[in-house]
Symmetry: C2
Subunit: 190 residues, 2 copies
């Protein structure tokens, strides 16, 4: 997705230790028009699998997942990290690494909205270690729903998350794949 | 907004103590098509004020605010509750009540994305006590940006948040106003 590569080159910045800052258009400030393009591209790539629900994790997955759900005309479901008072007491639970706290967080999904009738497309902003996505996969399994595909806006190939997801046997699509950083610049896979 | 009232009547449930559960289409599961209608309605009501940025608070404000920002063709900015490693060390900070933890949370916005050139439209899912919105107003003031309007998808009039926001002197628009609950059913303001 060339428009995304150009944006990363123009506005992204490399903070070292594999961390790409894209806070100006994805992660803190969001470019809604770009997100809608992202959503349409995911819908184009995954539509044939007939997902009836898009699942993501709060927080930064919400924008690309909402745009994808809109393009597919299906509901978005986002896993919560704390249980709101409106959530039943025994939600599906899985553990994922926390990017801000250096520890782990729980992901919680209400059984009201995910069950064996569902064909689930997972969408997230980054595919890095794959651990957050694996936690969502775990929730899909608990719900006896069917996982049909996994999409990430940006994949950091050097963190090898794709290797852990490949055995799931579903299509994995990243809109941009960063092979590595060289002198602070991302090297994209063609 | 009749489509929203109908949805609340059909799928919302009253949990007592003023708490309306709308987890099936706004707060956990999200109806993207409804959100786009919400965004277009806010754009129609606030467009004349020429906002150049939509500000909300993670988490449940993101969906309606993204749709509004898309309809207005301006960036969305969402306040974070924990500081990601990509955020500068001294962000704008304000304190808001936590709905899940019964305590308070910090809202954090990077000065990189909000400054005196900005005309800010605040959007949130609920206007209840108004305290979260006041925290966002505080951040707008710290940034020396100009607040141009406040929009909420659902207003709970009995929590009187509007009274605390009125002195700000900007238009406040709620798409649905709930006056009170009677026998577990919302009574809407006409």
């Amino acid at each position: 997705m060339d428009v995304l590569k150009e944006r990363i080159l123009r506005e992204g910045s490399y903070l070292g230790r594999g961390i790409l800052k894209v806070d100006s258009f994805i992660n803190h400030q969001v470019d809604p028009a770009l997100m809608m393009l992202v959503g349409r591209e995911f819908a184009r790539r995954f539509g044939y699998l007939k997902p009836n629900k898009v699942l993501t994790a709060e927080i930064s997955g919400i924008a690309p997942a909402l745009a994808t759900a809109f393009a597919l005309d299906v509901p978005l479901l986002y896993a919560r990290k704390t249980r709101p008072i409106t959530m039943p007491e025994n939600p599906y639970r899985a553990v994922a690494p926390s990017h801000t706290k250096g520890q782990v967080v729980e992901l919680l999904v209400s059984p009201e909205f995910l069950g064996e009738q569902d064909r689930v497309l997972l969408i997230d902003d980054f595919l890095a270690s794959g651990k957050t996505i694996m936690a969502l996969v775990d929730i899909v399994k608990q719900a006896k729903a069917r996982l049909v595909g996994i999409g990430a806006v940006i994949e950091k190939a050097f963190e090898e998350g794709r290797e852990s997801l490949t055995p799931l046997g579903v299509p994995i699509e990243s809109l941009v794949v960063i092979e590595r950083f060289e002198d602070g610049h991302p090297i994209f896979r063609e």
